[in-house]
Symmetry: C2
């Protein structure tokens, strides 16, 4: 609760000098020492609110994600947090709950609170980030590209879809369906496009689109869409789930129906930290969520520190763990 004035008084210097000690501006060795000692004795720490008001920017960054209950995003959050904290920044985790309106509200709050920057895994392809841009505050898009010229950290989505489908073919499955996220989410479309290219080339279906389903990126989305394709004639004998939660939903449904892999083929794009699986029975296309977080935070911090170079695009690589157990 001590202020810069009290420290100054105790150290026998001016408040400005105290401020300088905490901001890297040149101060003589001698006075610097005096100030540090006085600060120590008074238990002084600069008031971040006052600093934010004066500097027009706080040491807080906002991370906006669509689903805080999805382990993929919490893992990503861990990555952001690790980097931010090391640089002295706090992270505000904002859950947009797949709702563009909530998302917009959070961007506004970030602007109003003078936060230093925003990392966003956007629901909308045109999130309302103008308020940040207007104030010249950096924004980094993660996981999902957005229609603005900002730094991006994304994955090779199409390739992950291809790899997932191909792995199932190599494991011997003959009719591979695909369940993916909302049609207006780019990652959902791209992963599906990868799947479609592969099954089309393999000649698995007359009408591949019948075996493709869009839903929300959650557990019930996986259950529902898998149930739909299972009802087709002929039914599929395998499925590509375009994210972790849909994979969980699919596996739940399959286990209820006694179709446990490898009896039915499953490839999941994402990790399944909380399931109990025979490792060789399903294909995992692992996404380095935490790394995406660290990369995004690193980019953002560079911008916060004044980097004005052209927008960058970082593509993070997935790794494949193919199913080897055959039916």
């Amino acid at each position: 609760m001590a202020t810069i004035f009290e420290v100054a008084a105790r150290a026998g210097v001016s408040p400005a000098t105290v401020s300088r000690v905490y901001n890297g501006t040149p101060v003589s060795e001698e006075k610097s020492r005096l100030v540090r000692q006085a600060a120590e004795e008074l238990n002084f720490v600069p008031n971040r609110t006052a600093r934010a008001l004066r500097r027009q920017a706080s040491e807080v960054i906002a991370l906006i994600i669509p689903d805080i209950e999805n382990p993929y995003f919490t893992s990503l959050a861990r990555g952001v947090e690790d980097v931010a904290q090391a640089a002295g920044y706090s992270v505000v985790l904002c859950n947009s709950d797949d709702d563009p309106a909530k998302e917009a509200t959070y961007v506004d709050i970030a602007a109003l609170e003078n936060m230093a920057g925003v990392i966003i895994a956007a629901v909308s392809e045109q999130p309302r980030i103008e308020r940040m841009i207007d104030r010249n505050r950096p924004v980094v898009a993660v996981d999902r590209p957005i229609a603005f010229e900002v730094d991006e950290v994304i994955m090779a989505n199409r390739d992950s879809g291809e790899v997932a489908a191909r792995s199932l073919i190599e494991a011997g499955y003959r009719r591979i369906a695909c369940i993916t996220g909302p049609a207006d989410v780019g990652t959902a479309r791209e992963r599906a496009a990868g799947w479609e290219a592969v099954v089309t080339e393999a000649g698995q279906f007359d009408r591949p689109e019948d075996y493709l389903r869009f839903a929300n990126f959650r557990v019930e989305g996986g259950r529902e869409t898998l149930a739909e394709v299972l009802a087709l004639d002929p039914p599929p004998d395998a499925v590509v789930a375009a994210n972790n939660l849909m994979g969980v939903g699919a596996l739940q449904l399959l286990s209820e129906r006694g179709l446990i892999p490898p009896k039915f083929g499953v490839a999941v794009i994402g990790e399944l930290p909380f399931t109990t699986l025979t490792p060789t029975a399903i294909t995992l296309v692992r996404l380095p969520a935490r790394e995406m977080g660290t990369r995004a935070a690193t980019l953002l911090l560079e911008r916060i520190n004044g980097d004005k170079s052209a927008p960058r695009e970082v593509i993070v690589q997935h790794t494949v763990e193919p199913a080897t157990a055959l039916r």
Copy 2:
């Protein structure tokens, strides 16, 4: 970006009046209308940083949790968020990562940033919350009680342990082990105590303590401790896992060894949203994580709004879903 002065000028009133309009202090109908209109036209929103500096308290609350990657805590976070947001507060999610030092740092940040209050699921039983208390800022303990006179939202831990063990006995298991969290975490000890009372009364073991293991509250903790008790002679035929992640670890190990429930009995205290289980094969003692969050946030907001009554204790009830499938 407009300020209170610009709004005042446009509305033909003083800045003080504009401020009053945004703070519920009495203002004539007429001027109030003028102010609102001017604000609308200028797209004015009060600057929260300035407000926080002046009022010595921001509209942000901190939620400190030990493991952001545990669905139990993210679910709790959702509850907090829902209530806080409805009241115009933002939530800063802080991951203490089971580390008392990080935890202390976050409390300090909350104090330094003049946050309105803190909800903490504490790692330490004596978290360093003095900085908040000194400033007269409210703190609510959730999930784990702490050694301070603050509001608490907790569960009937001992009872949940008893219920879990009893359910397995009723399902026909004869030697029930228990794997729980760190010995210095109250919830871990209490749940184990509930288990111990039941198995002791049932006369299952000469030395029950041999079948009790403490570890971290994570997946690997569950795996490791279950492996240990499985190596005992005689081995157990069932286990109580004291939290969700240990339950996941236990189930993973069991499935690798072909001991899938109900072949081996499992009761888990917590929910398993991302597993694929036969619902009747294991006992779930469900913990209403989200409700704990809403309750805690409600208490905190009451304190923020000036409630000075004696510290309250809210005990949230679990519900039991017993295993019915027998071996």
